[in-house]
Amino acid sequence: MTLLSILGVLSSAIFSGTSLLYTTLGEVIDERAGIVNLGLEGVLLVSASSGFAVTAISGNPYLGILVAMLAGGLMNMILGYLAITRKANQLASGLALMFFGFGLSALIGKPFVAVKIHSLDRFLLPGMASLPLKYSSLFKFDLLIYLVIPVAILVWWFLYRTRWGLSVRAVGENAETAYASGRNPRRIRYQALFVGGMLAGLGAAHLSIAYTMNWTENMTAGRGFIAVALVIFSKWDPLRAIVGALVFSGAVAFQLLLQSSGVQVSSFLLDTIPYILTLIVLIAWGGNRRHSAPAMLGRVYQGSE
């Protein structure tokens, strides 16, 4: 295990973890408002496919990214309508959204399988260019990767330092009290869903447009569920999610490293690492109120007047 290979794992983790982190940040906002989105997988697929399609047609990856974000927001609006306005069960609504996403993305993406696109440029940060090539080439990242940590900090800032973030968190903890303070819990949940959906769309865009640069059916391969687990692992905190995303995506890259150094560990077992880690974290912090989920997560707000 050389420095090069370790750095290689890190680079790979950063590449694949970026989309995971954006998605997780979106889901953090949703869950803070009290809504769990089991349909995240479907949302990601629709965003990835539509963003990819637009990029292929227009030749402009930035346009594709914007469309992907919009698609994500709109998909979440469906969940919002069912869970907030029609007061349906969130789990069932999320699953329905997931199936919808499977189908719609296949439809949108079909003409674009194996199509090549003009992707985002990759570049080095100014300081890195002086390193030897074999190291610096590992860290040629695209714009979205460089932006992901600032965005995470921005999400943190929104949640904890703004009036809107306070409203979101209040709604997710106790919608009745939020209502008593003059806020509209339903509207705030819709807003959270839309913003969260846009971030998820951004993550999906990075996956199809910037990272793999292609589209295949079900290319997200469970990332939606991993993101839900990651939200829990990070205890609903955007900053912790940064570390978590690295750890979770590092696990996959780590597995390749192990294999190449001759250590035989089942890829299946390594795939369980994100979930087992989350379970351990859940159990370890289970008794401590500070680390529990937003109190209204998953519950329908019946509302008064």
Binding site: A88, L91, L95, A96, F100, G103, G222, A229, L279, L282
Partner: protein
């Protein structure tokens, strides 16, 4: 002495209610079909011809029909695995994982005891399957009871872990000599027998029997009464002396056992072998079917049938219309959206 109030059963005739429900469901499915038809048009396909394809391939031929039944079988069980806990107010979202672990346990039985006669081996596999599922359902329940760990979250996590464990077991220990991605084929003694040259297997009988038993238990027995009381008002049930905690644990494990049984039925009756990711969302599908059916056994059979028709029909759609198979999910999703959105088709009546 005051006259005893009219105690004759004046409940509206059951038949009228059933008719209303069926019509409501038909309308919802029709609405979903229309919406999907719009999608097809946008995609440049002929909706009428597409629906004709779906119906002809599924209901038009005896074999097509039997294929629909085959794919229905596991969903009957995974839906029941959600419906039973639902009666006491529990939401079992862990069916997917319970199914995998049940299949793994059953496979263990099949591979370890290939020389037992069928009448011993099959019941053994049934028990193993149920045991595996029950165990996987017990974990979230137990964690919930000792700490503040939300059982929905743990169930979802375990759903993702279970298929990987199965993959690991296959790859590491159980794979057939020639093929590293599946176990060797089960011996005949470990296979549920099929009917009439189709692929419909004994699992159908098991599923239907369990659904009937479920219905009978809820309607006539003491446990059904107590479970209904718990579901209706858990604290009152407790005050009335019903052992709430015991019921919750037992019923959750029972739900898991049924999902595990679904796994056993799939590997023994349908596949005859175990391979990774053999369940394409059967657990989640069962969850949705139970939701569509409102937890009612007859509704489960009907909805499982409808969902099977949709999915089997999707196969042909892919061949003849050039649509990716996954597109059929849209039709299912629309049906779900409409049922979840609870529209009021009958004026003045609540859904």
């Amino acid at each position: 002495m005051t006259k005893i109030a009219e105690t004759v059963n004046r409940f509206p005739a059951g038949g009228q209610k059933v008719l209303q429900t069926v019509v409501r469901y038909l309308l919802m499915i029709l609405l979903a079909c229309i919406m999907f038809g719009v999608i097809l048009v946008i995609a440049g396909k002929d909706p009428i011809a597409s629906y004709k394809d779906i119906l002809s391939s599924t209901l038009g031929s005896a074999y097509g029909f039997s294929e629909v039944i085959v794919s229905m079988i596991p969903m009957l069980l995974t839906a029941l695995a959600v419906a039973l806990p639902f009666k006491v107010g529990l939401i079992n979202i862990g069916g997917e994982g319970q199914l995998y672990i049940g299949a793994a346990f059953a496979t263990f039985g099949a591979l370890t005891f290939p020389n037992l006669p069928a009448w011993v081996l099959l019941p053994l596999m049934v028990i193993l399957g149920m045991l595996g599922g029950a165990l996987w359902a017990f974990i979230p329940g137990y964690l919930k009871s000792i700490g503040l760990v939300n059982e929905t979250i743990t169930s979802l996590l375990l759903n993702s872990v279970a298929p990987k464990i199965v993959g690991f077991l296959i790859l590491g220990f159980w794979h057939s000599p020639r093929d590293t991605v599946r176990t060797p084929n089960f011996v005949d003694a470990a296979r549920l027998s099929t009917f009439f040259g189709t692929r419909v297997h004994l699992g159908l009988v098991i599923g239907l029997i369990l659904l009937i038993v479920f219905w009978l238990v809820m309607k006539y027995t003491r446990w059904g009464l107590e479970m209904g009381a718990i579901g209706s008002n858990p604290q009152a049930a407790r005050r009335n002396g019903i052992p709430l905690a015991k019921y919750l644990v037992v019923i959750m494990c029972l739900g898991g056992a049924i999902a595990g049984l679904a796994g056993m039925v799939q590997v023994s009756g349908f596949y005859g072998t175990l391979f990774p990711n053999f369940s394409m969302g059967l657990g989640f599908m069962g969850f949705m079917i139970c939701w569509l059916a409102g937890g009612d056994p007859l509704g489960i059979v009907l909805m499982a049938f409808v969902v099977s028709v949709i999915y089997s029909g999707g196969n042909l759609l892919q061949l003849t219309r050039g649509l990716p198979y996954a597109v059929i999910n849209i039709l299912l999703a629309f049906t779900l959206f409409i049922v979840l959105g609870r529209p009021n088709f009958f004026k003045g009546k609540k859904s």
